[in-house]
């Protein structure tokens, strides 16, 4: 019965569905524990946050289900408009919205918050995949490449105004996508030079609310590597990282068990930016490696979709979205384990979050939609 229902309703790669289901379950368990602190701090009662998270996870799955049934080819047409809209929204948020911790990343619509960078990510990757797909049978010319690079740099700079790490992640994804799309290396270098010049300009003029923070974090991380760190350099990010290490070191192989985390009380973003540390503290190295494995498996399945997809657009779209998601996960885990400077990156599909869960759901939905291709269109 259930299997039949699943078969008729969940199309596409069933392995990806399995991975997503596993991550959602883990998410609910871990966030419940990590937000134990939040729950007692809020007036809404102990279960308010857990309940809210379960609803959001369900909505994310709903959005996934909704998108996986659509014909993804149609997104190619809307993507350009999406890029322009998200650019406008990013500038609006920077100018007019009051943010948390001086990071005005959100737009408030009614009682809901929404991050324009999520929309920007989705539409830019789709748009880029569409543009690249057109060029697979003809060689690239400068006149065709330039609009791509300009779009990438404009959107990434707009994101960088409020969130430097997300901007860098998106740029990396776009860069990889261009690489996958066989853009000649001189143009790739051009893109690199372009973002470098823009970044220098932003830092020099001090534009953007988070540039300074990013600079400090990088300097702090670099000096930590070199061992020249001043004793009292930027306490806050050090504090977070140290707490994350405490959590990992105390987790051991098997972990302390669910709900036993100590560091959740100290890690200010334990339910989002440092959830991987909490997973290891509570579930041990085994839990940590398992979650890491799930993302790698997901990446593998995403690539499989490329492998079997009929047309270049589907393949590039799936690759772009999969890599975007997995790289973000890797960065999150890298931060928690001290491989990179502190960023505010969620663990996609796992961390507590609002609108971002809906967008992540949409991204995964599109990846699954691409994986359906092989059934309809066996070979190019």
């Amino acid at each position: 019965m259930v299997t039949n229902w699943l078969k008729s309703n969940l199309k596409g790669d069933h392995q990806i569905w399995t991975i997503v289901a596993a991550l959602s379950m883990i998410s609910i368990i871990v966030v419940s524990s990590a937000s134990g602190k939040l729950a007692v701090m809020a007036s809404g009662g102990i279960f308010y946050h857990i309940f809210k998270h379960i609803i959001l996870v369900s909505l994310g799955l709903g959005s996934m289900w909704f998108f996986h049934r659509l014909d993804y080819h149609r997104f190619a047409m809307y993507s350009n408009a999406g890029v322009i809209l998200s650019f406008a929204l990013l500038i609006y948020a920077y100018k007019f919205e009051q943010g948390i911790n001086h990071a005005n990343r959100w737009i408030h619509v009614g009682g809901l918050t929404f991050m324009p960078s999520d929309l920007a990510k989705l539409s830019l990757i789709t748009n880029l995949a569409a543009m690249l797909a057109k060029r697979q049978h003809v060689s690239y010319t400068f006149n065709e490449i330039l609009p791509m690079i300009v779009k990438i740099i404009l959107v990434c700079s707009a994101i960088a105004l409020t969130n430097v790490s997300t901007s860098l992640l998106l740029f990396t994804t776009c860069f990889l996508l261009m690489f996958f799309g066989r853009v000649p290396s001189q143009y790739l270098l051009l893109a690199l030079a372009g973002i470098f010049i823009t970044a220098t300009l932003l830092v020099m003029t001090g534009t953007g609310s988070r540039i300074e923070t990013a600079r400090n974090r990088v300097i702090n991380f670099a000096s930590g590597l070199k061992g020249t760190k001043k004793k009292d350099a930027s306490q806050t990010s050090d504090y977070q990282i140290e707490r994350s290490f405490y959590a990992i070191a105390n987790g051991g192989v098997l972990g302390k068990g669910p709900g036993k985390s100590q560091q959740r009380y100290f890690l200010t973003e334990s339910e989002s930016d440092f959830i991987y540390a909490i997973i290891i503290e509570e579930w041990g190295m085994i839990g940590g490696v398992f979650v890491l494995g799930l993302y790698l498996w997901f990446l593998y399945r995403g690539m499989k979709a490329v492998d079997s997809s009929g047309r270049a657009f589907g393949g590039l779209l799936s690759a772009g979205l999969t890599f975007s998601l997995v790289i973000q996960a890797m960065v999150h885990m890298g931060v928690a384990t001290g491989l990179g400077p502190v960023t505010g990156q969620n663990l996609p599909l796992l961390s507590m979050g609002g609108s971002s869960l809906l967008f992540t759901g949409a991204m995964v939905g599109i990846i699954i939609a691409v994986s359906r291709d092989k059934v309809n269109n066996p070979i190019l």
Binding site: V40, Y246, G288
Partner: protein, 704 residues
């Protein structure tokens, strides 16, 4: 090359890079857990959180009128988080304000130079401590409010690093009053109401998450409460603050005067059994100071002495219908029973007297003779049965724990001295409160009622537990009405003509009995060392309060000073006088003199019109002042004249003829400071009327 293959190859290449990165993550986990594991675990063990209990707010203890007897006040300890000042943003705040702050701290606490504070804070910053206690002494909320305006501190917890650690401290608004009765809870010692009602007062502690911040000290994490503590219940006692105050000061004066070892007073409301005052004072070793260190009234078991003769008399009347007029031969005041000699205090003896006289003069021989006449000859058991009916051999189950168990036991077979000595209050152990409860039953028309000191427990205004409902009351009167009439006559006689005639007064009647017993020391009764008591009730014709005063081992030159009549009875009177003076319900109404009319003084008076009107209404004076504000009132030939009293702004008014209360009101409103001497109305003033008023000038008033 195939386009698709090319794309797939590129994907695989990046996939490999990501696998490599994933390997790096796993390697870091291994490294953090094993190679660096020890270091991080050790560091984290210094800063951890744990679940700790949060003390519930202890309930309050209230007097019968709702005034606070004991409450918990929040006090604070000043702490500081030096780490806060280390971040880039907050460093400037710290650097700018630290010197002024240290000076303020030094000024406020006055214990250290400001430089000591400065170096203490800087050392902690250097050591990267998460928390230091700036001063251990407790400050109150007003101080906290003031400190929140100081430099650095005004930036709050997250920018300034100030931490006010809350501590609940027990506070008794009336100071040492009723100290032992209200009780206290210190480390191991718990006494009084605080002890007996500890479980109700304590409430239910909550649980919360605390961060360890150093050796044995914890700091609550914001919002880390897991179970909110349930505050303790409020205890509403029957203690009356005024009566308690009178009892305490009267007893203290008497003890100091006589240099006695200890003493106690209990005042009980006759009809309800409510304890209105309970005080116990003990002389501190080798000093002339007294303190509440032991509750004699509840725990002090002694030979009650002559006050017990009341029980014997009631028993005789009940069982054998003894008449007040029955004659007893007391002879020369000596009586040999077995190998013991019983003596009266009057060395020559009282001769042949009535039973009433025996009681009034507290004749031991007379009492013993009556007892032997009726309860001797194999009737002893009936006497002890009566004492049982009087509840005298039973514990009171009083609310203050522990409960003393009285010891009264029938003599063994062949012991012929047991009964006569028992009948005059020797050879048994009773507490003052037990004796008082018996006397109270007599005052309460024979109805025995258990004494209570706690009426109810409450949560805010909701009554949680009503102890009045659980109060033990004996439905059957302990004696007949006839006996009551007879025995009350005896008790009144004691004050009218007997051993306590020194406290007789015209205003109201006191009924009671003195007791002077030799102290039993090392198994022998000592002459010259007495335990004196007076138990009685007042007003005798409609008893409202019963009271026991016991004074142990008073010293004096005269033998009489050692006796109850001189030691205890006057304390009783002093307390009774003050209660009587304050309690208007006890007063007899003054009969209105029908013919005399209202007598008016010819003195000039200044009073507020509204007051004059109120008084006139009460006395039926028809003429009323026509103006508003202050009026001058003068009577001439039995008629009252009124005049408006001028009270110009900024000028000193004429105060002569004003009451002090009115004068204070007028003058202090104009900004004067007032000094005065004497009683009555203002007779003269140091600044003449009409002078311009200057603020803060002192004006002297003489009253007459």
């Amino acid at each position: 090359m195939n386009i698709k293959k090319d794309i797939v190859m590129r994907l695989r290449f990046v996939f490999l890079l990501i696998l490599l990165f994933a390997g790096g993550i796993i390697w870091r986990i291994v490294q953090l857990q094993n190679i660096e594991g020890e270091k991080w675990r050790k560091a984290s063990s210094l800063r951890y959180v744990s679940e700790r209990t949060i003390e519930a707010v202890r309930g309050n203890i209230y007097a019968d009128d709702g005034s606070l007897l004991a409450t918990s006040l929040p006090k604070y300890r000043l702490g500081f988080d030096p780490l806060v000042s280390l971040s880039d943003k907050n460093r400037r705040i710290f650097d700018d304000g630290i010197e002024e702050l240290c000076k303020k701290l030094s000024n406020f606490y006055g214990d250290k130079d400001w430089k000591d504070y400065y170096s203490m804070i800087n050392l902690a910053r250097h050591e990267k401590d998460r928390y230091i206690l700036l001063n251990n002494s407790l400050i109150d909320f007003q101080d906290v409010k003031m400190m929140k305006k100081w430099p650095i501190f005004k930036e709050g917890k997250y920018k300034g690093g100030v931490v006010f650690e809350k501590v609940n401290v027990r506070y008794n608004p009336f100071g040492k009053m009723g100290f032992r009765t209200i009780g206290y809870k210190k480390d191991k010692e718990k006494v009084g109401i605080e002890n007996s009602f500890d479980s109700q007062l304590a409430g239910v502690p909550g649980k919360g998450i605390f961060e360890k911040i150093g050796q044995g000290s914890f700091r609550p994490i914001d919002g880390g409460e897991e179970a909110i503590p349930i505050p303790g219940l409020d205890i509403h006692t029957t203690i009356n603050v005024n009566i308690q105050d009178v009892a305490e000061s009267s007893l203290l004066r008497a003890l100091k005067r006589s240099g006695a070892d200890k003493g106690c007073v209990v005042v009980m409301e006759v009809a309800t059994g409510e304890i209105k005052a309970m005080t116990n004072l003990t002389r501190m070793r080798d000093t002339s100071n007294y303190a509440e260190t032991y509750n004699h009234a509840v725990l002090g078991l002694t030979d009650p002495g002559s006050v017990f003769k009341l029980a014997s008399m009631v028993a005789l009347m009940e069982e054998w219908n003894l008449s007040n007029e029955e004659l007893v031969e007391t002879g020369d005041g000596k009586m040999k029973i077995g190998d013991k000699i019983l003596e009266d205090s009057k060395t020559t003896g009282y001769g042949t007297i009535t039973a009433q006289s025996v009681f009034e003069h507290s004749s031991n021989v007379g009492t013993a003779k009556l007892m032997l006449k009726y309860f001797g000859k194999g009737n002893e058991k009936k006497y002890y049965k009566k004492l049982h009916d009087f509840h005298l051999d039973q514990r009171l189950n009083f609310q203050l724990r522990p409960d003393a168990i009285p010891r009264i036991s029938p003599p063994k077979k062949g012991d012929i001295t047991g009964l006569p000595w028992n009948s005059i209050g020797y050879g048994m152990l009773l507490t003052p409160l037990q004796m008082l409860t018996f006397y109270n039953a007599i005052a309460n028309d024979g109805k025995w009622i258990q004494p209570i000191i706690v009426k109810e427990t409450r949560v805010a205004d909701k009554v949680e537990d009503d102890f009045k409902l659980k109060q033990e009351v004996d439905e059957n009167p302990i004696c007949s009405e006839e006996t009551l009439k007879k025995v009350r006559k005896m008790l009144e006689g004691v004050v009218e003509r007997g051993t306590a005639s020194n406290i007789k007064n015209d205003l109201y009647k006191i009924a009671g009995k003195t007791g002077t017993s030799q102290k039993l020391i090392n198994g022998k009764y000592r002459k010259g060392m007495y335990y004196t008591s007076f138990i009685g009730y007042f007003p005798a014709d409609a008893p409202k309060y019963s009271c026991v005063v016991a004074i142990d081992n008073p010293r004096g030159v005269k033998k009489e000073a050692l006796f109850a009549s001189d030691a205890s009875a006057p304390v009783f009177k002093e307390i009774a006088d003050k209660i009587y003076a304050c309690d208007i319900q006890m007063h007899k109404l003054l009969a209105k003199d029908a013919n005399g009319g209202v007598k008016l003084t010819s003195q000039k008076q200044i009073a507020h019109t509204s007051d004059i009107k109120a008084i006139n209404e009460e006395f039926g004076i028809e003429r009323k002042p026509s103006n508003e504000g202050w009026s001058v009132m003068q009577a001439e030939n039995g008629k009252v004249h009124y005049e408006e009293h001028s009270n110009p702004k900024n000028k000193v008014p004429d105060l002569r003829g004003m009451s002090l209360r009115d004068a204070l009101y007028v003058l202090e409103n104009k900004g004067f400071k007032v000094s005065y001497s004497g009683f009555g109305k203002v007779k003269s003033q140091s600044i003449p009327p009409g002078v311009f008023a200057a603020k803060n000038r002192t004006i002297g008033l003489v009253l007459n």
